[in-house]
Symmetry: C2
C-alpha cells in the first residue's frame, strides 16, 4: 500500500475535532445512568457520517449496544473482517475539586487533551474512525471489512454483553478483534494486551442498630464501623496476602508461553511511584512474586470505598449504626465471580462475621488469547512499525473488560491498542490523552488494518 504521509494523521484528526469534542461532552456515566441513550445515538450517527452502516441493539436489556459495519474497499480483502470493540460509557467524574479543568469540557493545555472518558476510551474510538476515513480516501481503499461493537456498560462490568454476543454471534462474526484499550507505559513503550483480568465487585455493609447511639455507650454496645473494619481486615493481612480459604486455589496455573511473555515485560517501580505520588513501598516488596507476576498472573483484593458515621469537621461522638464498603477483586483464569462471593461469605461466616452483608454488584471472568495465533504477530509487527521495537505484550492486562464472552461466542483472538500514556489517569481526575499519541493511534490503526487485509 502507498504510504500515507505522517502529516495526514494530525490533519484528519483536526478536521474531525468538532465531532470528537461533541462526543466527549456527552456525560455518559453508566453507573449513574446519565445521557446513555443520547450517547448511543450519537455513536450510531458518527459511524454513519464516516460512511458506515450502524444499528442500535437494545432488545436484551441494559444500555444500547451500537453495531457498526464498513465494507472492504474495491482492492481490499473482503474475506477478512476485523472487529473493533469500544465502549461509550465513562466513569463518574468525582472528586470534582481535584479537576483542574471542567470534567466534561474537552480542554487542550500544552498539547494534552483533558476530559472525563477521553483516555477510557473515547479517543480510541475516534482514532479508529479517523483511520477508516484515511484508508477510504486512499487509492487502495479499506483493506478489509470492519465491524464495531460499541457498548455502554463497560464501566459497570458489562452485565449484559454476553447475552448480546450469544444472540448476535453471526452479526459480530470476525476473524480477529482489536480491544478498546491500550497505552504507553511509564517509559513510553507501547503496550498490547492479549487478555484481561476478570472482576468481582461487591457492596459490603453492616447494620448494628436502628439509630446512631451516643458514643459513651461504646462501653457495652457494638458499632457497625468496628464490625466492618474487623471483617475487612480479616480478608487480607497487612502484608497483603489474601487470607480467604480457597481464594488462591481457584487460579488456573499459567502456561510456560504466558510465563515467558510475563518475564519479558519491563517494570519501573520508581516511575510508577513518581507518576502516582505513592507514599508507601509497592506491596509486592513483601510478597513472593515479581510486580509483573502480581499484575498479570495473580488476583487482587482491594477496598475501593468506606463510609460510616460522622466524618465532617470537628468531632461528633456517635456509634455509627451502619458502615459500608466497596470491595474490588480482580480475577485470573479459573476464578468465577460467583465463587469469589462464596469464599468471602464462607470466610466471614466462619470467622463470626455473619452480620456483615455482601452483595455481588458486577462480575466478569478473565480471558487470555492463545499467544501462538498468527494475529498476535500481525498486531506486534504493525505496532513495531509505528512505535518502535520495544513494544510490550501482556498475556493479559491487569485491568478488566468483558473479553470472556468475545472469546466464548466469537472465538476470535483479541489484542488491545489505544492512545493512552502512563499519566492518562483513567478513572481519576484530570483524565487525559496527549495529542501526539492520538495522532500516532490513528497511524497505528491505518497500519494494522493494512497488514491485516493484505
Amino acid at each position: 500500500m502507498k504510504e500515507i504521509p505522517k502529516t495526514k494523521f494530525k490533519e484528519t484528526a483536526e478536521q474531525n475535532q468538532k465531532q470528537f469534542f461533541d462526543y466527549l461532552r456527552l456525560e455518559s456515566v453508566s453507573t449513574q445512568g446519565r445521557m446513555i441513550s443520547e450517547t448511543a445515538e450519537f455513536v450510531k450517527s458518527m459511524i454513519e457520517e464516516f460512511g458506515g452502516k450502524a444499528e442500535l441493539l437494545n432488545n436484551l436489556g441494559g444500555h444500547p449496544i451500537v453495531y457498526g459495519f464498513f465494507e472492504a474497499g474495491q482492492k481490499g480483502n473482503a474475506e477478512k473482517t476485523l472487529l473493533f470493540y469500544n465502549h461509550y460509557d465513562v466513569q463518574p467524574e468525582d472528586p470534582l475539586d481535584e479537576w483542574k479543568t471542567t470534567p466534561f469540557e474537552p480542554t487542550i493545555i500544552d498539547e494534552i487533551l483533558y476530559c472525563r472518558g477521553v483516555s477510557d476510551n473515547k479517543a480510541n474510538f475516534m482514532a479508529r474512525l479517523n483511520a477508516i476515513q484515511l484508508l477510504n480516501e486512499s487509492e487502495e481503499g479499506l483493506p478489509c471489512k470492519v465491524k464495531f461493537l460499541v457498548e455502554g456498560e463497560e464501566e459497570i462490568g458489562s452485565p449484559n454483553i454476553d447475552l448480546y454476543l450469544e444472540k448476535y454471534a453471526d452479526l459480530f462474526e470476525a476473524d480477529a478483534c482489536i480491544w478498546e484499550s491500550g497505552s504507553k507505559d511509564s517509559e513510553e513503550r507501547f503496550t498490547i494486551d492479549a487478555g484481561i483480568k476478570g472482576i468481582a465487585y461487591f457492596d459490603a455493609w453492616v447494620e448494628s442498630a436502628d439509630v446512631d447511639i451516643h458514643s459513651s455507650k461504646g462501653a457495652v454496645v457494638d458499632n457497625a464501623a468496628w464490625r466492618l473494619t474487623h471483617a475487612l481486615s480479616s480478608l487480607r493481612t497487612k502484608d497483603h496476602q489474601v487470607t480467604i480459604d480457597g481464594f488462591y486455589e481457584m487460579m488456573k496455573p499459567p502456561t510456560e508461553l504466558e510465563r515467558s511473555f510475563v518475564e519479558k515485560i519491563p517494570f519501573n517501580a520508581d516511575k510508577l511511584k513518581e507518576n502516582y505520588g505513592l507514599k508507601n513501598p509497592l506491596i509486592v516488596e513483601k510478597m513472593d512474586r515479581t510486580p509483573q507476576e502480581a499484575l498479570i498472573l495473580y488476583p487482587t483484593l482491594t477496598i475501593s470505598g468506606l463510609l460510616s458515621g460522622y466524618i465532617g469537621p470537628g468531632s461528633k461522638t456517635v456509634l455509627p449504626r451502619k458502615a459500608q464498603a466497596k470491595i474490588d477483586v480482580r480475577l485470573v483464569p479459573g476464578m468465577d465471580p460467583n465463587d469469589v462471593y462464596k469464599v468471602i461469605r464462607k470466610h466471614w461466616d466462619k470467622n463470626g462475621f455473619n452480620d456483615v452483608q455482601l452483595k455481588l454488584l458486577t462480575g466478569e471472568k478473565s480471558f487470555r488469547t492463545d499467544l501462538s495465533d498468527p494475529f498476535v504477530d500481525i498486531v506486534l509487527n504493525s505496532a513495531k512499525k509505528v512505535y518502535g521495537e520495544d513494544v510490550v505484550l501482556n498475556p493479559n492486562s491487569p485491568g478488566t473488560g468483558p473479553m470472556h464472552g468475545f472469546g466464548k461466542y466469537l472465538k476470535v483472538p483479541i489484542l488491545g491498542s489505544g492512545t493512552g500514556w502512563a499519566k492518562s489517569g483513567a478513572h481519576a481526575p484530570n483524565e487525559n490523552v496527549r495529542l501526539k499519541d492520538f495522532y500516532q493511534g490513528i497511524e497505528h490503526m491505518v497500519t494494522l488494518l493494512s497488514n491485516f487485509g493484505s
Copy 2:
C-alpha cells in the same frame, strides 16, 4: 417550706414556653460555629428576664460563657451558693433524612417535645429557670444564692473552660454544683451522676498517593483504605479488648466505696437492645467485666466515622488515595488525653503504621465526686422525694463533660440532674424530652434548692 402544688410546675412551664421554644430554635451547633454569639446573648437575656444578673465572658478565647447570678430571698440562706452548669451548644443535626420532625423546630407529638438539643441540654437549663421563678414567687423566696455557668463548647470538648474556671474561680465560687445532665434509665429510674468520664477524640487519616488510581493497580500499589482498616483493627480485637500497650495501665483503680455504688446500679440488657434496636450481643458478653463496670469504671475506644474512596451507588474501581476516621476514646481517672495520643502513636509506629496520621481534636480528663460528701445525701434525698426510692447513683457517668476543671478550680462536689429518658436520643436524630419529665425536672430543682438552702 410550704409545698408548691404539683399543677404549678406544668402551668409555669407553659407560661414560659415561648421563650423555651425560641431558645430551641437557635441552631447553636458548636462544631460548625453556627449561631453561637446569638445564642449566648439569648441565654444572658433569659437569665435577666427571670430576675437574675448576667454577664458574657469571652476574653480568654472560644465561644462566650454566660455567668448568671440570683440573690437568695429574704428568708433564704445567703451563706450557701449552688452553681448550675449548663451548655447552650448542641450536636449537628445530621443524618437529616432520619428526622421525623424539622430538627430545629420544636414539635410536640403525643406529649413528647422533639428538637435538636432539647435533651442535651436546653430543657435542663429551662427547668432550672422555671424552678427559680417558682421559688421567687413563693412566700419563702429563693432558699439560697444561685449561680449559672452556661458555656458554648461542651459538644466540642470544652477546650477553653478550664481557662475561665481558673481565672474566674472567685466569680463562680459555690458550695456545690449541679451538672447539666441526667435522665431516667430504661426502667424509669432517675439517675444521678457524681462524676464523668474524660474523652480523647481524634482525627486519623492516611494518604497513600497523590491521585486516586485505577484499582487494577492494586496488584502492586498499596491503598489508603487498606492501611487505615489495618491500623484501626490493630487497636482493638474483634472481641473488643484494646490492644494498645499502656492503655489499661493508665487507669487509677476505683475505691471500694465507688465499687459498692457500681454494684448497686441496675442494668437491663434487653431494654437497651430494644431501645436502640441493637443487632448484635452486647460487647461485654465476651469481656471480663459487668456492663456496669464497663460503663462506669473502664475506658472505651470506638470508631465514630470512616470515609474513603467511592461510596455512591454502583461500582467505581479506584484505589482511594486517602482514608479518614474519627476515633472516640472515653477516659477514667488516671488517663490523660495527651497520654492516650502517645500510646496510640507508639502502638502504630511499633506496628509499622507510621504513615497513619493522628491528631487529638478534643481532650478532657475524668472526674469523680467524693461520695462521702454531705451534698451527695442532699441530692439523693430530694431526688427520692420527687422520683421515688429507686434512684440510681453512678460514681461517674459513661458520658463526658468538662467536670475535671470544676473539681480542680472550684473544689465543689458535683452531681447531675436532668430531664431525659432512655429514648431521648441525645446526639441522634429525633432528640426529645417527655413533657412529664420536664415538669418533674422543675419540681426536682425546686425541692433540691429548698433542701440545699435549709
